[in-house]
């Protein structure tokens, strides 16, 4: 089966997704699964009255089946009790859509998981006992591989001449205001400047935050630099995404670490 060969029902939910949007209030719970790296992110919002789901909404970034499965899930859960909704599986959603191409069963059918996340967070919020599965212990990675090797070969510990970065894809590690200012300055001569921080947000004075937001600098949150790679000079880096607990390579030409 072709990966884009979908049933009429899938196509209908893709073209006319039901329940797009968000919900707010004390009786609302949110579940979010997926990550942009694998190509799908789904957010499911449910409103709960007593033990029954009275309303559901969603937002999805992803391919056709990702959009259709989230849409279908929100349709299916309305009126269900929380226990019933916990029983809803990916397969149930796929069946209701008259099937999905096998290759899409896993990655694009996470909507049921998002729903379960929402229910768990609701129950946790009410002090109920929720069994935790797969709570990962995240390792702290402190040691950066390649730092000595690439010094003066694309790795900079300070920036004197901005023009050296002209049209070079540059990665800067966040280490305070100076690193943010440097990133903004380099973005004047290079389209591709990435600022890396292990934190969820950057705490900056409003003036600098404003400048950063209107610059071309791309900020990667919850990310750590693990390794600098290249045959003779900086060519790529290995980045660890703390939130997703996974690493990936990114092609760059220069790395700036201001200590």
């Amino acid at each position: 089966m072709k990966s884009t060969k979908y049933s009429e029902k899938v196509l209908d939910h893709f073209r006319n997704p039901r329940n797009v949007g968000t919900l707010e209030g004390d009786d609302v719970a949110v579940g979010k699964v997926g990550n942009p790296t694998c190509g799908d992110i789904m957010e499911v919002f449910i409103r709960i009255d007593g033990d029954v789901i009275t309303d559901a909404k969603f937002r999805t970034f992803g391919c056709g089946s990702a959009i259709a499965t989230t849409s279908m899930t929100t349709e299916m859960v309305k009126g269900m009790t929380l226990d019933e909704a916990m029983e809803l599986t990916r397969q149930d959603v796929a069946d209701e859509l008259d099937g999905l191409p096998p290759i899409k069963m896993h990655c694009s059918n996470l909507a049921a998981d998002a729903l379960h996340e929402a229910i768990k967070s609701y129950r946790k919020g009410r002090g109920e006992d929720v069994p935790e599965e797969n709570e990962k212990v995240k390792e702290e990675v402190e040691c950066l591989i390649g730092k000595d090797e690439f010094l003066n070969k694309g790795l900079y510990l300070n920036v004197e001449d901005i023009n050296e970065f002209k049209d070079r894809r540059t990665l800067i590690l966040y280490s305070g205001d100076e690193s943010v200012e440097t990133a903004i300055n380099i973005s004047e001569v290079s389209e591709r400047v990435i600022l890396l921080t292990p934190d969820e947000t950057l705490v900056l004075n409003p003036d600098l935050a404003e400048k950063l937001a209107s610059s071309g600098v791309k900020v990667l949150y919850q990310s750590k630099l693990l390794e600098i790679r290249g045959e003779f000079e900086v060519e790529k880096v290995l980045i660890f995404n703390i939130d997703e607990d996974e690493d990936y390579e990114l092609f760059v030409d220069a790395v700036v670490i201001i200590e």
């Binding site: 979908y6 970034f61 992803g62 391919c63 990655c107 790529k236």
Partner: protein, 387 residues
């Protein structure tokens, strides 16, 4: 609904004039060039005339053209055939990070056979750095294979400079010219090309036919063994209708190319300007200037390529994407990643490639659709936030 096709990089319709030229060779002049009778001689004449015309198209000599079953076979024969024949000289081969997937897979195969493969990185526009290429050359390097242009983002490589460098270092230079043929003039002598792959369909000829160009004094080991056709480099009775088709396609291309390139450039530049102007947070992938005349390649923040493609499908528009969700492996395009994109950025790509039968109307229809499709999908998206 009017159907609009802007995916010429994936497949091209066979030109009707090419089909007319081929017809005779299915039934009337059906002979086998290996036969010594008159019917066989007619086939031999058709084969050799085709060889001559196709050689002329790339400024090669007739005896440097070997017909294959398509570009994939030509690439296999050029790279694997050359590597196996020359493994006593060295076991190191250099390719680029943005070669067509078939070359990456051939490289993996050769690694299992004991060869070492180096990949040259590209800059943010997809261009191979000559300096980084030169850094990778060792005394064990026997072959450099770098495609003339990217089949995805359309970036044109400095082929002439690469050929010159390879010649100076005494290393064979293979180039996959499939994305470039018909859109970039090819001159194997001027560009110091020793081995090259061409496809017939990319010239609006039939599929199932290709050419491996092999410069005199260069030799490969055959990978298909049989009756010794094509001087033993590629056995199997020649597909005369297909080969004749490729010949007519090359002849038409030679005449039309300059006019076509100008027309495609107008389409391309109009698409690039209008999409970047009208769609917020949209970006051009590939090189701003050195790109194939037919290629416009975009990415849009916050949305995913397969859903773009499906939305266009509903509007009767056929386009391509570099998204993982349409690939066999669920990995995003290695080409986009090599230009320095993050996975989530590579997912939101749209590739528009025009061709011989594209019209101004087609471009208008697509340009009207793009902003609408993008904004609808962004409304659904949790990761797109208006700034």
């Amino acid at each position: 609904m009017k159907q609009v096709y802007l995916d010429y990089q994936s497949a091209k319709p066979v030109d009707l004039k090419v089909m007319e030229g081929m017809m005779k060779y299915f039934h009337e002049s059906f002979g086998n060039p290996s036969s010594l009778h008159h019917v066989g001689d007619v086939a031999t004449d058709a084969l050799e005339e085709s060889r001559k015309k196709i050689a002329g198209f790339i400024n090669a000599d007739e005896d440097e053209i070997i017909f294959t079953s398509g570009a994939t076979e030509a690439i296999n024969l050029g790279i694997i055939g050359y590597a196996l024949r020359n493994k006593k000289k060295g076991n190191h081969i250099i390719i680029s990070e943005i070669e067509h997937i078939s070359i990456h897979n051939i490289a993996k195969y050769l690694e299992r056979e004991g060869f070492t493969i180096s990949k040259v990185p590209v800059d943010q526009f997809g261009k191979v750095s000559l300096r980084k290429l030169e850094q990778r050359i060792t005394d064990k390097t026997i072959l450099i294979s770098i495609g003339m242009a990217s089949n995805e983002i359309g970036t044109i490589q400095p082929t002439s400079e690469i050929g010159k460098l390879a010649a100076e270092k005494g290393i064979a230079f293979h180039t996959d010219a499939v994305a470039a043929e018909g859109l970039v003039p090819i001159d194997v002598k001027k560009d110091n090309i020793n081995l090259m792959a061409l496809s017939s369909n990319d010239l609006y000829g039939p599929r199932g036919v290709g050419v491996m160009y092999m410069q005199k004094k260069y030799r490969v080991n055959p990978i298909i063994i049989g009756g010794g056709q094509e001087r033993g480099f590629r056995s199997g009775s020649e597909d005369i209708p297909g080969i004749v088709g490729m010949r007519f396609a090359a002849e038409i291309m030679q005449k039309e190319m300059n006019t076509e390139i100008k027309r495609f450039q107008e389409y391309r530049d109009r698409m690039i300007k209008q999409v970047l102007d009208e769609v917020p947070d949209s970006h051009l992938n590939g090189h701003p200037k050195d790109r194939l005349a037919s290629n416009a390649h975009f990415r849009f923040d916050g949305i995913e390529g397969e859903s773009i493609l499906l939305s266009f499908k509903d509007l009767g528009i056929s386009v391509s994407t570099g998204s993982a969700c349409t690939s066999k492996t669920l990995e995003p395009s290695h080409t986009l990643i090599a230009t320095g994109l993050l996975h989530e950025e590579a997912h939101g790509s749209l590739q528009l490639t025009a061709g011989r039968f594209s019209t101004d109307d087609d471009i208008d229809i697509v340009l009207e659709a793009v902003p609408k499709v993008v904004s609808r999908l962004r409304e659904l998206s949790p990761i797109y936030k208006t700034k």
